[in-house]
């Protein structure tokens, strides 16, 4: 098994961990971290495929996505802060106000 295969497996593991974490963790900050984990898993696979196909643009795209992800987190953290101020808790279950 060559290294690229291993890296792909790693990216899959990161994505799965991230998704599972998103689904089951109660702490809002941890959920955000898991989100980042899943995103990075996907980006890793992007890099791997870029290497495999020998396309430099793939590596560039990854940096662009990093920038977008950073901006996203910059907005997400203040939102989380406001939500926490509102409810005085980090438990995601407390924010199910849109119950049908």
């Amino acid at each position: 098994m060559d290294r690229l295969q291993l890296l792909l497996l790693l990216s899959f593991a990161m994505f799965t961990l991230g998704m599972v974490g998103l689904a089951i963790r109660r702490d809002l900050l941890v959920v955000l971290m898991c989100l980042e984990l899943a995103l990075n898993g996907v980006l890793l696979s992007l890099v791997v495929f870029a290497q495999q196909a020998d396309i430099a643009a793939g590596a560039v795209l990854v940096f662009l996505v990093f920038v977008v992800a950073a901006a996203e987190i910059a907005i997400a953290i203040p939102i989380v802060l406001l939500m926490v101020r509102h409810k005085r808790t980090l438990d995601v279950g407390a924010f199910s106000d849109l119950r049908g």
């Binding site: 998103l22 689904a23 995601v92 049908g100």
Partner: protein, 624 residues
Amino acid sequence: MRLTLIALAPLAGFLLNGLLGQRLGKTFVSVVGCALPLAAFALTLAAVVELESRGAPIVEVVYTWAVIGGVEFEIAFYFDRLTAVMALVVTGVGSLIHIYSTGYMHEDRSYARYFAYLNLFLFFMLVLVLGRSLLVKFVGWEGVGLASYLLIGFWFQDEDKAAAGKKAFIVNRIGDAGFLLGMFLLYTLTGTLDVDRINAAFAEPTPQMLALASTAGVLLFIGACGKSAQIPLHVWLPDAMAGPTPVSALIHAATMVTAGVYLVARLSGLYDSAPAASAVVAGVGVATALLAATIAVVQTDIKKVLAYSTVSQLGLMFVAAGVGAYAVAIFHVVTHAFFKACLFLGAGSVIHALSGEQDVRKMGGLARRIPITFVTFAVATAAIAGIPPLAGFYSKDAILWYSFASSAGGSTVLWALASATALLTSFYMFRLLWLTFFGRSRMSAEVEHHVHESPLSMTGVLAPLALLSAIGGFIAVPQFLGAQWPLPAILEARAPFYWPLIGLAVAIGFGGLALAAFFYAGDGARAARVQERFGALHRLLSAKYYVDEFYERTLHQPLLWLSDRVFLGLGDRRLLDGSLDGLAAFAVRVAGQLGRIQTGNLQLYLLLAMIGLVGALAWGLRHV
């Protein structure tokens, strides 16, 4: 143009009075309301002169209403001698009643509305009389029904009067259905709706026309029954007395209710080819005449007596039409218009004098107090009773004679029933005269104190009508119409009975007078004894043979039940509302179930999205 103007004059009156009357005051309304009918009368006279000078019917096409598949439906007016007689009666008697109304209705708040309606009625009546096509006549036919409804319910604040208006309207609808069906059938048979062409077509009938003539005749007669208050559709006319008295005189005695007779006479060609339909006309006519006359004997409301008398007299007219003596039927229409208008207006004058009292049991002894009303009323009573040489004698005697001797359906039974009606007519009319004007006063002191003769506008109309009731019999209507509507041949075996029957008719007239005088002379004790002796019969007659109750039970209540339970309860509430409500309730329930998925928990949504995604991927892998 002249014929159109005859009809348009009252329409102009309706528009002026209806739009401006309330603002411009009573003088304006009176002048407009009376002048335009008088103008119509003058124009009719001019048209009659023209008709006589040219000798052929005047036809005037106003407007082509519709062209359907090459067939033109025109609004056209047709003026022959029959039209002339009817139009003269309608505009002449109509104008007199308009003038009378200026006195009778003077205190009414809705004076302008009253005259607007009255003019509207006259317009539609003239359309009905003058119309050449059955379609145009139908417009007039419906229009007079509308005007009748509006005027019966003129004092609509009174629940009962509004209901009487509705009753008249609804009962007439039943007749109108017959009229329409008859009209359709005639159109399929002859390909035209113009009455003169229909009559011409029936002069040379095809076998199919002969086969269906009776059906068409009976259908149209159902329409005539509605308008002319014949059994079984007679129930509306007595209730129609809720309207102002001049309205009863104009619409429900002199003009509108005779429209049915006019229709039958107008379509004489059809009825001549349809002996079965003619027999129905005569049969229904004589049955109505007799039954209505028996009811009139026990009525105590002065207007109700006259109303049943009208129903009865209309029945006699149909007898004449049914045995082919159309000219005689129209003759009776004319004389009846004179004396019945006079009687109704006289009754109006009595009611006016007694401050609104209509019950004859609370009248009596009025002869000296209101002499002009008394004299005119007495003349008209004698006329309707058939006392020679007054108008009613001639027309009624002619009807009796043709019901006996006409070769087109005359029979002894018909004659006997019609004669019995004549006797009853004479009796109940003189009874009315006695109870109202003779004997001791049974008025309350309050009412008696206010008794006064009516103003000149009212008595001035009573006088000419009484005069016409007296001499109207000398107007030779049957001879005038004879050229176009020859009287039926006389059965030879019965010809010798002519003079004896006239003698009998005279005896009948005086017999009724004698009976009424015998029973109601003094304090009416003899009448009271008879009433006690035949209590059950009296109750039956007072209740008008329970026809209203019968209709209530067999038609009204089942229909009400059907509408309430089946159409409203089952159809509307359960089926329509129920299905829609059910759909809505179903949506609410399903949405409630689905709503439980929306927990508001983001992580659950994510999980579901992932499961979906995985499912989609797995499906994709297997199928692509």
